[in-house]
Amino acid sequence: MKITFDEYATENQEVLQAVQNFVDSLDCLEKKKDSQIFIHQDGVKKSYYIRCCLSGETISNRIDLDARLDPQSTDTFRDNRELLLTHNTFRRMSHDADNEREFNDIIAEYNIGYSPEKPLKIWGGQHRSRAIQDAYRKKNVTRYHGFRIYFCLTKEQRSELALVSNTNIAVSNDLFDRQLEETMIGPHLRDWCVEVGLLGQNEDFPDVGSRSDKITTQGARSFVVNFFKGKDKGDQVNPDKLDYNIYEPYLCKSGVVLDEEYQKLIDEKAGTLWSDAKLKEAGIAFSSLHHAQYEAIKQSKHNTKSFRMKALTPAILSSWSYVAGLLQSHPARFKNHLTVPPSARGAPDPLNAYEMSKYKHDQDLPTYRGIGTRSDLKERQRIAQIFLARSLAEGTPIDKSLISKAVSTVIGLKAMSKGYVA
């Protein structure tokens, strides 16, 4: 059989050899019928691939659903999302596979650098692949399925392939974030979260944050970025005028592109970021707040996920961290901020989630659902002011009066900045 590069692909001997190895080791339809195989090259990332047909029997024990973004890493953390085996869509897929459905455009990488007994690392079409596997194992069903198989991928090409493949299906941004983090930054953020207690040992960021009780990659990035943003702002503000400003905590963007502020921070603080003692101190204190909130709500009559996870909501997390950074040159207030707030009278939890959920200012739309339920800038400004006001005195609880005064302060300062006539 003949293997040739198409007219748009730059010839590459290493790739040609890898394709040859693939054909030698796996039986594809093209090999069986002695037909042509073309090597294509993607125009965007220049990655090489072929299209071919593989039978259910051939792939049943040669595919790897736990593909790694970094094949050199010995980490066993998953780069793909969890398989949803009880999902109705998968059940339908499985039923179809049992009835000899032929699937197409399954994305795989031929890689014998790890788990060589399963050289086809699946990047797109995990559920289809699993359905094909099951159909063969359980019912001996085998048909030809269409594959796109990539060769000699660089780390960047692999990461992009994983992202692009996953945009074909409903995948959360949390999974994209986790994949990008692992590929472009490494395991540092995850390790840092484990160290401060925001993740347990051997835990990873969730692939779907909304279904999880764990901090997301976006949340952890936002925490780190905001600490240093707050610190920078604190260095610029006259210490006597700390309470005269509206602060703007930042929320890292989630999805297929790494957030630029996070990237900037990583570049600027390479080598010192993950060992920063003050950041770590803040992380440990925030972790204590989250766990105190979680446990208090778990044992209360308002045991809802939104209340349990209140500390990890994007607006609260980013604002808390920003204020921690802002108070770096105010040790007494920093210390007050780090302590878990005592519960306000009648409230079971330190963040007083119920009172927050009831709060509404005259400026708010009728659809507003209380403090911390949204993550826009306005919300982050308000919450930063709540934490800043709380830091003024030791042991201040978060009660209705504190919340109301803090929000009024933000709204009053905004009105004044617009045009105060002395």
């Binding site: 005269y244 005259d362 009024s408 302060t409 004044m416 617009k418 045009g419 006539v421």
Partner: protein
């Protein structure tokens, strides 16, 4: 309760007043009309007072003592003895300010420099509405004001326009009723 709720109550009472007058039940129509006018003014008072409260939350040195007195509706007095002799001080004594004055202050201070145009159609309507409210709230035996359907509607609309005007001037954005 929020000012929006008072506005909604006023609207509901206005609807009831219309229905009652149309069905010939004048007593009920009058009751609902009076209540609607009063609720409209409760709404605007609530809105303005809450806005004033926002400014009282700010650091004290951002305002003069007299401004703080107006914002917190507390009296300012001149001290003639003691440590603060010769100075104005803010007391704990309540000193309620007129609604018009509070609006004038908010617009003048935070409205970008433009004072309220007292000759404008809106301000004229507001003064008429205020007079009606005052006569309802402070009745005299020889004067029994009865708001009409049209008069009640004008009060409700005027109050909404005033709230909107202050919101736009001070916050830079409209509110939703």
């Amino acid at each position: 309760m929020s000012y929006q709720q008072y506005i909604r109550d006023s609207e509901a009472l206005y609807d009831q007043c219309c229905d009652a007058f149309k069905s010939g039940n004048e007593a009920n129509g009058r009751r609902c009309a009076m209540a609607s006018v009063l609720f409209s003014f409760i709404a605007v008072e609530s809105f303005i007072n809450n806005m004033m409260d926002d400014f009282t939350s700010l650091p004290k040195d951002l305002f003069t003592i007299h401004e703080r007195g107006l914002l917190s509706e507390s009296s300012v007095q001149f001290e003639s003895s003691g440590k603060k002799a010769g100075q104005f001080v803010l007391t704990d004594r309540r000193e309620y300010k007129r609604l018009e004055d509070k609006i004038l202050f908010l617009i003048a201070k935070f409205g970008g420099g433009a004072a309220v145009d007292k000759g404008s159609n809106l301000w004229q309507k507001f003064e008429r509405a205020k007079q009606l409210r005052d006569r309802l709230a402070h009745p005299r035996k020889d004067e029994t004001p009865t708001p009409t359907i049209e008069g009640t509607q004008e009060v409700l609309e005027t109050v909404k326009e005033i709230i909107q005007m202050v919101s736009v001037k001070v916050w830079g954005s409209k509110v939703t009723f």
